[in-house]
């Protein structure tokens, strides 16, 4: 047997409370029966007195209607029970449950133990007071102004200042309380915003993830991650880099001797330092004759890093170390110390970019083919 008070009914119960418990309830079926009776009366019986009596009777029936659930049971008995082969009663009450408000209104003992939210709402509905004000505050202030005469000007000013003070104090107190008080429904203070890496989908640093996936071959991410672990451990345990003043790393990072203690920062610093800020895109139609000219195009952070990682991986292929991860790690240290050819590669990109920068923003003279 389904529970008498099911969730669907409970959801609708609270709005029902909010509307008004005191409002006369005319149930749908009652209204239907009323109109139906009126209609039948109009058709078959044209005498006015009869109709009046009939409507009075209908009204009386509507006011002294049986309880909703009783009525529902009645309707269902008529509509449903005879039809069903097994004869199991299936009322709307049993299917949809009863309004909690109705149970509470007829059962005082239950109303006493009802949740506080319900009790408050019932009280509010009885008192008839709103939780908000509908009167305009500006009007009050204007009224108060003329009441303060010339003699009482100072006093009224002081009173106003005190009032403003108290208002401000109240607002700040409220804000303060809102900070410390728990939001409704919370047992413990809400957690602070979690760092990005706390979500398991983004648990690695963006750069680490990008680098690892660029090292990946044949879709073997596990092997790439193992290599990345090796690289990080190498950065962690290799001697601190001797920085080359001609190839400085980005400012703002920790000093060189502290770099190995945080290999992720170390790696990020290396990549970001050598990353190019532009890319030279060959475009046709600027010089005529179909020749393409490299035009510098700015890169986003991720694109810059991608270029740098690609260069580093390319350069590491030329190394002679036994292990792939070892080659990459050595190349990274070489970049940090300014020994790597990756720096020259970036210089070349910048040089070409400077040559082509006059054409940035210019429109090609010929229409490009679609």
């Amino acid at each position: 047997m389904p529970p008498l008070l099911n969730l669907f009914a409970a959801r609708t119960a609270v709005p029902a409370l909010r509307v008004s418990a005191a409002a006369p309830r005319v149930s749908l079926s009652a209204a239907a029966s009323k109109s139906h009776s009126a209609l039948s009366q109009r058709r078959w019986n044209s005498s006015g007195s009869d109709g009046k009596k009939e409507s009075e009777e209908a009204q009386r029936a509507a006011t002294s209607m049986p309880h909703v659930s009783e009525e529902a049971a009645e309707v269902s008995r008529i509509m449903d029970k005879e039809k069903r082969c097994d004869g199991v009663p299936s009322t709307p009450e049993l299917q949809q449950g009863t309004m909690v408000s109705e149970i509470l209104s007829r059962d005082k003992e239950a109303a006493k133990h009802a949740p506080k939210v319900f009790q408050d709402q019932i009280k509010k509905a009885q008192s008839g007071s709103r939780s908000f004000s509908t009167s305009a505050r500006r009007g009050q202030l204007e009224e108060q102004k003329p009441s303060g005469g010339d003699a009482n000007a100072d006093a009224s000013d002081a009173a106003q200042a005190a009032m403003v003070q108290s208002m401000i104090a109240q607002v700040t107190e409220q804000a303060h309380a809102a900070q410390h008080e728990l939001a409704p429904g919370l047992k413990f203070p809400a957690p602070e915003t979690l760092p990005r890496t706390e979500n398991y989908r983004s648990r690695y640093e963006p750069l680490l993830e990008q680098f690892t996936k660029m090292m990946m071959r044949d879709g073997k991410l596990g092997i790439a991650e193992k290599n990345m672990n090796f690289i990080l451990d190498h950065l962690r345990s290799s001697p601190p880099p001797n920085l080359n003043p001609r190839r400085p790393l980005l400012p703002g990072g920790p000093p060189a001797p502290q770099l190995p203690l945080n290999p992720v920062k170390y790696l990020t610093l290396i990549i970001d330092s050598v990353a190019p800020i532009i890319k030279n895109k060959p475009m046709k139609g600027f010089t005529g004759g179909g020749a393409s000219v490299p035009i510098p195009v700015p890169l986003a952070e991720r694109q810059r890093r991608r270029a740098a990682i690609k260069w580093i991986l390319d350069a590491s292929d030329k190394r002679r170390d036994t292990k792939f991860a070892q080659r990459v790690a050595n190349e990274l240290v070489a970049v940090a110390e300014g020994r790597s050819g990756v720096w020259d590669r970036r210089d070349l990109v910048y040089k070409v970019g400077i040559q082509g920068r006059a054409l940035v923003g210019a429109k090609p003279r010929t229409r490009s083919r679609i």
């Binding site: 962690r236 203690l261 920062k265 292990k323």
Partner: protein, 505 residues
């Protein structure tokens, strides 16, 4: 799904369709109706008659266009020299000069290894002992020693228990000569091998003789030489190379202890064993001469397990120290080895005398305990490196635990293998260890290493933080979170978490 059409609706269609369809002759000219690709090929194929417009096939010319062959990838760089990759793989780095030196770090010593107040703190392994531990191959390549300033281990509950046992056997008169026999099990990364390492370190501290078999698999993987033991025992096999390696490990690690002991028994089978020579020299002869390695090992074992001198050799005798034997990866010894006999059948691991010797120690001794001067047998299983079928070992270990708990083998609670399962009776036989007659000799136990406690986990994480590797504020809540993430304090997983860096806040 049921079709909306019934048979009656479709019958008139079927009757008329015959007249609508083209005649069979026209259908043949299009090629078979159910092959599209084959038909195309059929249509496009040049005929042998050499009609107008079609090409004639030359002799042996393939009718099908040749597929483009993929270019073979040619590796330009020379491969690295032989053995270099393996050397890199097996390299053990024990120090990271970049890591911070932990202030107030205590070393493992006779006092600290039994101090329960230090439970949960990381204790450094003494620097002079590192050579000994390296000699017995106590460190494994993937244990993550390389990121710390110096190797340290956490003093957990099991370690303290072991430390107290070592302390008692050496110090306490009543407990002198006690033997524990444990098969160390537990989940992956739960610290089984490091537990053995801690035992070895304690053995070195207490001046025990330490025998280790760092990889049990190497004895059965048919990578070293073997030969029948003798004419009388053609079904037993001796591994002289592996025995010589064991002897050289033992000599290198236990030089101080062995050089203080002298040969005081008669060894008719070992002519090199002269009365009065040190055991160090005796072991060295076996390590250098592989042919006599097994005989020398037996002589050395006889010397170390002697409780008194042979008649006439009293002046050479000094009391023998306890012995620690550790084996890592026991599962490989519980099945057939990769060696073959003369009939090309696989030799069972228990037919190798080396393996047989160390497994026989698990049984209680007859006249005297299997280690008469006391000691410990710690044989660890592995979860990641096992032979394909270890079901018998699993059941046998359950039986060991049940026997230790006092369940009679005849009772219905005693674990039995599944009916119709493939089991190895020799494994049951080897691990069936009844209670010893000797009070000092403990029963074979199955010790399962679980996760560390919250306090121990906190000590471990603090060690990471104080080494400068972990840059977080360590609070109880944080540790508790990581403890849970590490599967309930599995220490290897905790180490992974401690290593993982979080930079962006």
């Amino acid at each position: 799904m049921v079709s909306p059409f019934c048979w009656g609706c479709l019958t008139p269609l079927r009757q008329t369709s015959r007249t609508i369809l083209p005649s069979p002759s026209t259908a043949v000219s299009r090629g078979p109706a159910f092959h599209t690709s084959a038909a195309l090929q059929f249509m496009g194929r040049p005929s042998q008659g050499g009609k107008k417009g079609s090409t004639v096939l030359k002799f042996r010319q393939p009718a099908v266009a040749a597929m483009k062959k993929k270019k073979k990838f040619v590796e330009k760089a020379r491969p690295p020299p032989v053995g270099e990759r393996k050397a890199i793989r097996k390299r053990i780095v024990l120090s990271n000069p970049n890591a911070l030196e932990v202030e107030g770090l205590q070393e493992l010593s006779e006092e600290t290894m039994v101090d329960s107040r230090l439970r949960g703190t990381a204790l450094a392994l003494p620097v002079p002992m590192l050579d000994q531990l390296r000699a017995v191959q106590a460190f494994k390549p993937k244990q993550g020693w390389s990121i710390f300033r110096r190797p340290c281990t956490v003093l957990r509950r099991e370690t303290l228990e072991l430390g107290r046992f070592f302390d008692n056997v050496t110090g306490d008169v009543e407990r002198r000569g006690a033997v524990i026999k444990k098969i160390v099990g537990g989940a992956r990364k739960s610290g089984k091998s490091v537990h053995l390492l801690q035992a070895m370190a304690m053995g070195f501290i207490k001046k025990w003789v330490v025998f280790t078999i760092p990889e049990a698999q190497e004895l059965v993987s048919a990578t070293s030489s073997y030969a029948p033991l003798s004419e009388e025992n053609p079904n037993l096999y001796v591994q002289n190379e592996a025995t010589a390696a064991l002897l050289s490990r033992t000599v290198a690690a236990n030089k101080d202890v062995l050089s203080g002991l002298r040969v005081s028994q008669n060894h008719p089978t070992v002519p090199a064993a002269k009365p009065g020579m040190t055991l160090e020299d005796l072991a060295k002869t076996g390590a250098q001469d592989q042919a006599s390695a097994w005989a020398v090992f037996q002589a050395l074992w006889k010397e170390l397990t002697a409780t008194g001198p042979a008649p006439g050799l009293e002046k050479h005798y000094t009391p023998r120290p306890p012995i620690l034997v550790t084996v890592d990866g026991l599962g490989h010894w519980m099945t057939e080895s990769q060696y073959r006999n003369a009939q090309f059948k696989l030799i069972h691991a228990h037919d190798l005398v080396f393996v047989r010797h160390f497994l026989s120690l698990l049984k209680p001794g007859q006249d005297q305990p299997s280690l008469p001067n006391g000691g410990a047998l710690l044989y660890a299983t592995s979860t990641t490196n096992n032979p394909p079928y270890v079901y018998t070992l699993d059941v046998a270990l359950k039986q060991v635990a049940a026997r230790d708990a006092g369940v009679e083998p005849s009772s219905p609670q005693f674990p039995q293998p599944e009916p119709y399962s493939k089991t190895d009776p020799r494994v049951f036989e080897v691990l069936e260890s009844p209670k010893s007659k000797h009070a000092q000799e403990g029963r074979l136990q199955h010790q399962i290493l679980g996760g560390v406690t919250h306090d121990e986990a906190r000590g471990f994480m603090e060690y990471f933080a104080r080494s400068g590797l972990l840059q977080e504020t360590i609070s109880d809540g944080w540790v508790s979170e990581k403890w849970t993430l590490a599967g309930g304090g599995v220490i290897g997983e905790l180490e992974r978490i401690g290593k993982r860096l979080r930079v962006a806040a």
